[in-house]
Amino acid sequence: MVDLKKAHALPDSKGSIRKILFHQSSVFQNDRQISKGIFQNFLKNLNRIGMKPKIYVFATYRNDSERVFLEEEANQWKPLVQSLDHFGTRVSNQIWSRLAYAQDTCLIANSTKPVAIMTRSDRNKDMVHLLSKSSLLKRAGFQIVEPEGNFTLEGGHVFASSKVLLYSNPKDQEILSSFEQKPIFVERHSK
């Protein structure tokens, strides 16, 4: 059994997960709202290997019933985390269906000043707008950077535990040069 207190007293291991921000939203099966468990299981596994992160949850709901469900779901994560900062916002049905889980807005951080690069899709545009209206980003110490170019391609991802940045759009070299990661510019092969 890992001693979490002891684990946290250790100096930062490269790539250890310390802080997470993610988007929480409802899922329905047969018209019934269900708890996904993905995130809870992820946290349990992190605990198992001695990590207990701070989490920042950005919840979107359409009505009070969804709000209550999401809050109750998040409450179950409390024993698994160092701290839980839950922020919920009501959205229209139209926006909600576009957000899905807004996967690209989820951040995980092992550094003190994490920055997320957002993909320029409509989905993320909505999410950036919602997030920037909340104070959650500030509380989490996160910043969102939107590149000039169309930040596309699979190579655009960055990894918390790697300092390597694959990137497909040389137009954004200036933004990227301010980051610690080693950039690898992979030219786009198709227009």
């Binding site: 996904k36 992820f42 990590m51 993909t119 190579g155 990661q181």
Partner: protein
């Protein structure tokens, strides 16, 4: 819609299977799927790349003409991937490349079908003093036993001395839900730290 090599491949596959269908399916493909995942160690880099070639699970009924077109598309995919691999190799020292399975297909529910992509390089790495770990979203309901996506992901990670940890939801539905929305574990990885 985003343009990347995965979306290009998906468009081609869908249109080979059913001409014009990509216009409907791919219109909502507005997220990014991973092709590469890199784990950096002190002395080397473990680079994982996805290969969809063996696992177009939902397309069992390819005829000969379709198979020829499919081969051509995968040839194009391999060429693009190779260029990226060469680029990575040029920039990083001591690199080991590992092929991971990926799946493009349709998921069948009772009343409807949903198009999905599953990339075996949707990994979230984490390390402590002694070990390196990689979280991945467990691929649900492996109908094609020959492919064994989860087992291949795990054995590849182990071969790179990384401990695999599968993340699951409360049900297969929950896992599918995460995959449809672009893989729950992968969603946790977009971070940079500024100088």
């Amino acid at each position: 819609m985003l343009k990347g090599i995965v979306s290009k491949l998906i468009t081609k596959l869908l249109d080979i299977q059913s001409p014009g269908s990509s216009a409907y399916y791919v219109s909502w493909y507005d997220h990014v799927d991973l092709v590469f995942s890199i784990f950096e160690r002190k002395d080397n880099h473990e680079v994982f790349y996805v290969d969809f070639e063996e696992a177009t699970l939902s397309y069992p009924l390819w005829d000969n003409r379709q198979r020829l077109l499919l081969n051509r598309e995968f040839h194009g995919w391999r060429t693009e991937l190779q260029k990226m691999i060469d680029e990575i190799e040029k920039h990083l020292k001591d690199v080991s490349f590992h092929k991971m399975p990926g799946v493009i297909g349709h998921e069948n529910f009772a009343q409807w079908q949903a198009f999905f992509i599953y990339s075996g390089v949707n990994l979230l790495f984490s390390s402590d003093e002694n070990k390196d770990y990689a979280f991945y979203l467990k691929f649900p309901n492996e109908s094609n036993k020959d492919i064994q996506v989860n087992e291949r992901i795990e054995s590849t990670l182990r071969s790179a001395s990384i401990v695999p940890i599968a993340i699951t939801g409360n049900s297969e539905f929950a896992n599918w839900a995460e995959i449809r929305n672009s893989a729950g574990v992968r969603c946790l990885i977009k971070v940079l730290s500024r100088k």
